[in-house]
Amino acid sequence: MAEASERTLPTRIAGRLDKLGRAAVAAVAEVGLGGALFAQSVFWMVLGSRRAQPVRIKATFERAMEVGIQALPIITMMSVTIGMMLAIQGIYTLRVFGAEEQVTIGVGFSVVREFGPLITGILIAGRTGSSLAARIGTMRISQEIDALQVMGINPVRFIVAPALIAMMVMVPLLTFWADLVMLAGAGWYISVSLGMSMAAYTDRIIDIVSVGDVMHGLSKSVLFSILITLVGVINGANVSGGAEGVGKMTTRSVVLAISAIIVTDMVFAFITTR
């Protein structure tokens, strides 16, 4: 018995190393696939018309409606809430120093540079990223992607490119909207709590927040939109095993997209603030 366990120990270690290696290779392959998908999408956006296979405006518009307009209510509601929450926490913290009036500085910077893009990205990853993964996964299972290929229609041009364009346009617009609504929510609480007028609050925010700060947040949101789309597409395309497989990959897509957004946000903040 002891001999048996001695014999199996190296085998077990080798097995675990093998698993780890395979997982690492699979992760690198997924990143590579993401890059290839992005490059192909850009190719079809730019050269599709020359190859008589343009990216369809109607499909792009439909995706944009789905990503943008239909997400407005949830983005608005969450943004007002988070804006108020930032104001509440800011006033509570600054009260220690007797500097409640300075809350606008913290709110202004944190909303346009961090919370606006981050919260919008996370909400879109949960809403649109998951629906993209589920849609592509279902299309794969029902052979719709095979059907596109045998009809001579490039699936990247037909499915991925419209979604990517829609996301790259709508996520920054939603982020800008979220910035405005968050600032309004925070402003309402600050005006009620500190007796500052909305006009004075708005003037202070305009003084503090520069165009560069807004652009910092918006450029991050473009990156997030690309990440959410690619993660959704890759997970959808890797679906196997029927409806259960679609469910698993949809969950994986949301988790991976949110993780990617947070890590990218940190790296972006680190690089741009040095």
Binding site: T138, Q143, V150, G152
Partner: protein, 282 residues
Amino acid sequence: MSQAAHAEKPVYQRPDLTGATPVVEVEKLVTHYGEREILHGIDLEVREGEIMVIMGGSGSGKSTLLNTLLGLLHPTSGEVRILGEHLHGISDVERTKLRQKMGVAFQGGALFSSLSVLENIMLPLREHTKLDLNTMRIMARLKMQVVALDGFENLMPAELSGGMIKRAAFARAIVMDPRILFCDEPSAGLDPVVASAIDDLILSLRDAMGMSIVVVTHELESAFRIADRICVLDKGNILLIGTVEEVRASTNERIQNLLNRRTEEKVLDPDEYLRNLTAAND
């Protein structure tokens, strides 16, 4: 009543295909899934105007063969020529052009759930032609009449029955007037009446449009009814290519097992079983 209905059934003549040009040529085709070899050197030829049925049990490799013929799987070695062109050796642009001469009716229909029946059927026209919308609609409606689906253009795929989905898939597959039509399990999952109607549709498409048709199926009744020739696949090898009569008359044990729906009997040797078990534990 049933006799009258029987009498009304159209009679299809098997065409004389001697000297007909091959439209699909497969030579020494080997295909792998990962490290597992599925097709072990297949040779096959489909002639112009012919209905070739690829038949075999589960795991025989018929779906792999179909996917390789459609260019969805890349073969490890060997050649597939469609209308004289090397399917796997041409550029993407050339392959796209070649695919416009091929139609495919998938087993589950593969209709796009976000598009109506008419939009599904019009899709290849929208993507590959510069026709105006009205002309495309007229062409799609004509094909819907061919498959007896007229009047259902505005329904969504989820609102169709199994038979209607197959018909819509056929309409989409033939909307570009392809020279070759591939059908994956066209009558699978349908009741006998609808399955027979789909068989009639395949035969009428060949007769009316002069298409060459490749059908993959495990439905014996359907295969015998529509086939000009049958290719019997077993474990990645071709057992026989021949007419319906030749297949029926075959003395090959595996073919007879398939025709009589018999499973392979494996005699278990207790000594060998124990030896294998001991070896596995070692």
